[in-house]
């Protein structure tokens, strides 16, 4: 029904002849091909080669790397095959931690962006500036700073023990919690900025109209503000989810060796593991995961078309 109405309202698009205008986009196309598709192609090719003894690849076709992404062979009898539970667990951890990071950033980012968007116009630049300050510092340094706060002899634990609230330090380092804190801290600005942009466009009179029509604060938030800033949430979630799922500095420093994420697993294959094809196959797997998640998200969550519709 909605589609029918749309086509009834907007006159059918008149096809236009563009001539050779596409030439104007040639520089962008070349950069896209060289910078995006080129490396991807190399990774794809590498994933079908044979690992060299000391790293690198031997130019011999093999599907072994792809097989090893999902399955493992028995050490004594290569014919005995089982699912690679270690890899699957890491896939799952990565997706799960990235999702949790995204949700935490959304929950913290909304009030932060709202605070900035409701400041007087001339002070907003200052608050946005504060949000971007962490970007100035190296990621590794920021991660070590978090470590200083949460480690056993760190800021939180020493304070708690001084106050006599606990006897022994609470173990926070080398847990999923530490990874979540680190990733949420690092990626929060990526949620705040698009949310702020969406809120900035929000017409304050729509909120007043909501109150005028007997909505409570909660109803105004749920029925008017949230549906209208949803594009900000969608953009922010994508910006946070993608780097989260591939993060490797934060899980390495804060999660220790035991709590690996996909990024660490891939890094391992190119480093100590000396299995470049497996690393390449894992990287491609991650790409598929991300693209799949994005498609799912945009189709089922990011659709702004039906936002706020009266269901049933």
């Amino acid at each position: 029904m909605a589609i029918k109405q749309t086509s009834a309202a907007t006159p059918a698009a008149v096809p236009e002849r563009h001539g050779h205008k596409w030439l104007l986009s040639a520089p962008a196309l070349i950069i896209l091909i060289l910078a995006a598709s080129g490396p991807l192609l190399i990774v794809l090719v590498y994933s079908f080669l044979t690992p060299g003894n000391f790293g690198g690849v031997v130019w011999r076709f093999s599907t072994e790397a792809w097989f090893r992404v999902f399955f493992s062979r028995d050490i004594f009898d290569p014919e005995v095959v089982s699912l690679n539970h270690a890899h699957l667990a890491i896939f799952w951890r990565s997706v799960s931690l990235a999702l949790q990071t995204t949700v935490i950033c959304a929950i913290l980012g909304f009030p932060t962006a709202w605070f900035i968007a409701t400041r007087p116009q001339h002070t907003r630049a200052f608050w946005l500036f504060l949000i971007t300050i962490p970007f100035w510092t190296n990621l590794l340094i920021r991660t070590f700073a978090i470590q200083e706060v949460i480690r056993n002899q760190g800021l939180i634990n020493t304070t708690l023990m001084r106050l006599g609230l606990t006897d022994a330090p609470i173990q926070m380092m080398y847990t999923d919690f530490a990874i979540l804190v680190g990733m949420a801290y690092v990626f929060l600005p990526l949620m705040v900025l698009p949310l702020y942009a969406a809120m900035d466009k929000l017409d304050i009179r729509l909120i007043e109209a909501g109150y005028d029509l007997y909505a409570s604060r909660w109803q105004v938030l749920r029925r008017i503000v949230l549906p209208l800033v949803k594009p900000g949430f969608v953009a922010g979630s994508i910006l946070v989810f993608i780097p989260s799922i591939g993060a490797f500095v934060t899980p390495r420093v804060l999660g220790g060796g035991r709590n690996m994420m996909l990024g660490n697993l891939i890094e391992l294959q190119f480093g100590q593991g000396r299995n470049w094809p497996l690393g390449a196959a894992l990287a491609m797997t991650m790409l598929v995961l991300v693209v799949g998640a994005l498609i799912f998200y945009i189709r089922y969550v990011g659709r702004t078309e039906d936002a706020g519709r009266e269901h049933g």
């Binding site: 009179r205 109209a209 909501g210 005028d212 007997y214 909505a215 702004t304 936002a307």
Partner: protein, 385 residues
């Protein structure tokens, strides 16, 4: 939150005046210290139930501020505000039986026309069947049945306007506030919507408080008009009172074309005075409410151009009966239905006479001719000093 459903304004018995909104010495100051700006000072007015009441004034005079105080978007700095007999100070907009039609309509872009109209009812938790029924009735009322499923971006400005009206009327408020709702429409659509609004107001019997800076709109639509300037109400009255008996130079000047003359009060009663006009003619004049002048005082009087007539100008008028002013023709401006003849009186004051362009009308007097002016009875109004 869930306001007790306001009773649909019951039609008052003919002649009986029930006060719906009672505003007493209301004031509003924005900012504080050196930045403080007094947007409203000492505004008092009562608005009757079922009335089409208009706030008229130039841009920046405080019309929107007064409306926002009534709606509850702003809290007053002083004074009282009662709606339906209840003091509403401290109540939020969602607790007042008042709905607003916003200047830019403020329709929810993510909802269909029908969902916009049903929003207030939904927030009031009215039963679904009642909501559906009311939304359908509102869609018919504003003739938007065919557009129920469209988004606000998919309909024209005039249609958005009607949806905004329907959305504000659907919860059956006691009072509907309209902030320059027609100012964004082109002239033709505007005329249509003026009669549409008037029809809606009569059909629903809801009290309308209408804001405009357009004097013609105010005169043609309103039961009563309050003329505002610089945060104050200068005069409140029916369109006829405001137009024919302006109390104040600002009011006279803002509404319609006006001639201002200096006159001297010769004799005075409670409601009338005898004044001497420039040139020596003595005439009865209306005094403003509250009087305030004494015999011997110099006052300003106003005379509407259409209340003056050039003596001996038309075939049906008496030859030179009742001439009170004389002057020289400076120019004539043709307006279609009438022509404005600009004179300079013998003492140098400019004066305009409006001449109806009937089929039998002769051409206006040529420039430079000496003419005499006669006035209709009751044409002279004394202004407050």
């Amino acid at each position: 939150m869930a306001t007790p459903a306001p009773k649909p304004a019951s039609t008052p018995a003919p002649g009986a005046r029930v006060t719906e909104i009672e505003i007493g010495a209301l004031s509003k100051t924005f900012g504080r210290g050196a930045q403080a700006f007094r947007a409203l000072s000492d505004v008092s007015v009562s608005i009757n139930r079922g009335e089409f009441f208009t706030l008229l004034g130039p841009s920046g005079c405080g019309k929107t501020t007064l409306l926002r105080l009534i709606a509850g978007f702003e809290q007053p700095s002083g004074g009282t505000l009662r709606i339906g007999g209840r003091e509403v100070a401290g109540l939020g907009p969602n607790q007042r039986p008042v709905n607003t039609v916003f200047q830019n309509y403020a329709l929810f872009p993510h909802m269909s026309v029908a969902e916009n109209i049903g929003f207030g009812l939904r927030m009031q938790r009215r039963p679904a069947a009642e909501r559906r029924e009311t939304v359908d009735r509102m869609l018919r009322l504003v003739r938007m049945e065919a557009m129920a499923d469209r988004r606000p971006t998919q309909i024209s400005g005039g249609q958005q306007q009607r949806v905004a009206l329907a959305r504000a009327l659907a919860p059956q408020p006691r009072v509907l506030l309209l902030d320059e709702p027609l100012s964004a429409l082109d002239l033709k659509l505007r005329k249509e919507m003026q009669s549409e609004l008037k029809r809606l107001q009569l059909e629903t019997g809801i009290t309308f408080v209408f804001v405009t800076h357009d004097q013609e709109e105010a005169l043609t639509m309103s039961d009563r008009v309050a003329v505002m300037s610089e945060g104050r109400i200068l005069q409140t009255g029916t369109p006829e009172e405001i137009y024919n008996r302006p109390a104040d130079r600002f009011v006279a000047d803002f509404i319609g074309d006006t001639n201002f003359l200096d006159a001297v009060v010769q004799d005075i009663t409670a409601t009338h005075a005898v004044v001497r006009l420039p040139g020596g003619a003595r005439l009865a004049a209306n005094l403003p409410a509250g009087g305030g002048t004494a015999a011997g005082a110099t006052v300003t009087v106003v005379i509407r151009p259409e209340h003056a007539r050039l003596v001996g100008d038309s075939a049906d008028g008496p030859a030179d009966e009742g001439a009170v002013l004389s002057g020289q023709v400076e120019r004539s401006v043709f307006f279609g239905t009438d022509t404005h003849v600009h004179l300079r009186l013998s003492d140098g004051t400019p004066f305009v006479v409006r001449r109806q362009n009937t089929a039998a009308a002769t051409p206006p007097p040529e420039i430079g001719r000496e003419v005499s002016v006669a006035l209709a009875g009751g044409a002279v109004q004394v202004l407050r000093n």
